[in-house]
Symmetry: C2
Subunit: 353 residues, 2 copies
DNA sequence: GAATAATGGTTAAACGTTTAAACAACTATT
DNA sequence: AATAGTTGTTTAAACGTTTAACCATTATTC
């Protein structure tokens, strides 16, 4: 309550934030003029602008984001939804998106779906509630129903998907060429002399995994290798599933001499099982993963994998969002960006010649 | 511009969001009454409340967060700053914080400092700009100067630190008992018969690492083991540094028979070097890490480590923040919560008896 | 049956900006 | 000298809520 300091009583610091109005009072001009000056409006004289900015600095003025967002209808916030942040791929995508967006005055809000459909819906509600100006997302594994994404679109809020997307949604998408990546992997394995290549894939219903499966099949055909049903397995690609499916493959009368796993975590599970059973990698069985998570280089043997250029993906996703915010926003056509991936060959598949 | 559909012209969906006012109009009551009804104000009759809620649902009303935040001065947003999300510890802390906070109507904004002091400052500015109601942070490795945190405090915004904190700041803190954890580790190694235990620690200037060092020293003394300067090393605890420091230890005339590394990533580096040099773990040299990152269980040999109960830390941090928001907020005293950690023994230190 | 209390609202201002429209004081044009 | 244009500013409304203060009924009390 006390505003002035008085003897013996410590000055109570009333943290009244300085507003545009305070600046106006100091200079004896209107609040509107201050607002315009701060935004470099052409109708304000250079002299006034300079004075306003000086006073703003002196009073340590910080614009009230809520007020301007309310008035202008723009929050300058972008929502990001990822299955989890705890993966090098996602955290690195986020980092590069952030970099691009911050530069343009946008901040990001990160939420995790934890691969759960329900949490994904909640995340969307949260973000809409926070009045984000756009949403960049990668779908949860569980997600089949797309109503919640439709909702975003129907509100006129830009929606950009990356990595895990859906064609039916008809939104912007940034990802890598999964089909071609599978080709690269199979080709590499063939070169190493492998003739019986298994694939522990993701669920076909998810487009990227379906593409990897298709690429695998077509590449086998191309090299006139037999396509054996028991060598093509669908799974959720967790470590546990990787272990289980690998164990199943090892039960086969006619074992594969290479296993291509559509995700690094599942590949790790497979590696563990093979290590436990003293299988020589790559000579008995070669192993390839997908995603180039850092641990692929750490384990023994190190795992060959696909680098997805997360930094590029993040950058492109951010730019795609920014395109919506530009004034010259005349019926922008959808952006479908497919980046080329890169095979990183490591011990698990590199046979000595 | 078109609001009504006319023949041949597709209805243009004007996405006018429904407001409290729309609801009021439908029911022929005041907007204020609607607001109160939605907040279950006691001055509104049950009948009216029911009607309001029904109409709100029908019109698909979504409260405008910006407006309420502006008016009430509360954004219901909590800012979180972590060195990186790409670590199981941090992502798991975040997840449990989120859970607690969401339940109370708060959403979180995550930002990463990337262990950089400058980015940490930027993050704070970003969060203050977004008018968060509080900040929960873990300090970057680089951070020494604490002005940016003082700024938060001086604005009267609750600041809670976890894991990497600073005593001088005089803010709430949640972490584990680093000193005691070191004791547990040394004790475990002694039990395994180790007599020359090295410590690759973090920088002394960071309190948690200093505590680990102190714990290490005191535990050695307690067991009357020699404290050898060349066995106590400071480092930044990256994988690379772990490799380097381990290589140095192996150069010693009198090698250690156990190495306790204050971070899992550095421990991994140490492990790689020892594997490369065909050192038998744990029999030649036992290895212990800190943090219980998932990969510690994946590598060969699996690494003994300290579980920090990230879920608890997150929960406590969130609760500490919530305590500030309660009305009965009479000069709350600082919360310093120190949780007990747990030693997870794995192959890298478990000698066969 | 007058005073008091309880109930269930309404009014209007406020939060800090932005912005369309109005206006005043010049300068330039015819 | 009248008109138009330019420049730099002010006014006032608006964004969608929340909330203090007020008011009108109806119920309760003695």
């Amino acid at each position: 309550m006390l505003k002035r300091s008085s003897k013996g009583i410590k000055k109570i610091n009333i943290k009244k934030k300085t507003t545009i109005k305070d600046i106006a009072n100091v200079l004896n001009i209107s609040a509107a003029a201050v607002s315009k000056a701060l935004h470099d409006d052409s109708r304000i004289s250079a002299k006034t602008k300079k004075a306003v900015k000086q006073v703003a600095k002196n009073l340590n003025y910080q614009p009230n984001h809520l007020a301007s967002a309310l008035r202008s209808g723009k929050s300058n916030l972008v929502g990001v939804i990822v299955p989890r942040t705890n993966s090098n791929f996602f955290s690195s995508v986020i980092q590069s998106m952030e970099e691009v967006l911050n530069k343009e005055g946008y901040n990001i809000i990160i939420t995790q779906s934890n691969e759960s459909y329900k949490k994904e819906c909640d995340s969307i509600d949260t973000l809409l509630f926070t009045q984000v100006d756009g949403i960049i997302a990668s779908m949860a594994n569980e997600t089949v129903d797309l109503k919640h994404f439709e909702k975003v679109k129907s509100k006129g809020i830009p929606l950009i998907l990356f990595d895990r997307g859906e064609n039916d949604l008809n939104v912007d998408y940034i990802g890598i060429n999964d089909y071609q990546s599978s080709h690269m992997i199979v080709e590499h394995l063939v070169k190493q002399g492998c003739k019986r290549i298994a694939h522990i894939g993701g669920f076909k219903r998810t487009r990227i995994f379906n593409n990897r499966i298709k690429g695998y099949i077509d590449a086998l055909k191309k090299h006139q290798l037999p396509l054996d049903d028991e060598l093509l397995i669908e799974s959720s690609l967790t470590i546990k599933e990787g272990r289980k499916k690998m164990a199943e493959l090892l039960q086969l009368k006619h074992r594969p001499d290479a296993v291509y796993v559509a995700g690094d975590y599942a590949a790790l599970g497979a590696l563990q099982v093979m290590n436990e059973q003293n299988i020589n990698m790559p000579n008995d069985i070669a192993l390839v993963g997908f995603g180039n998570e850092p641990f692929t280089a750490m384990v023994t043997p190190s795992i060959t994998s696909i680098e997805q250029h997360s930094t590029d993906i993040g950058k492109q996703a951010a730019k795609t969002f920014l395109a919506y915010t530009e004034k010259t926003n005349i019926k922008q056509k959808l952006n479908k960006i497919i980046l080329d991936a890169e095979l990183v060959v490591r011990d698990s598949s590199k046979k000595e010649q």
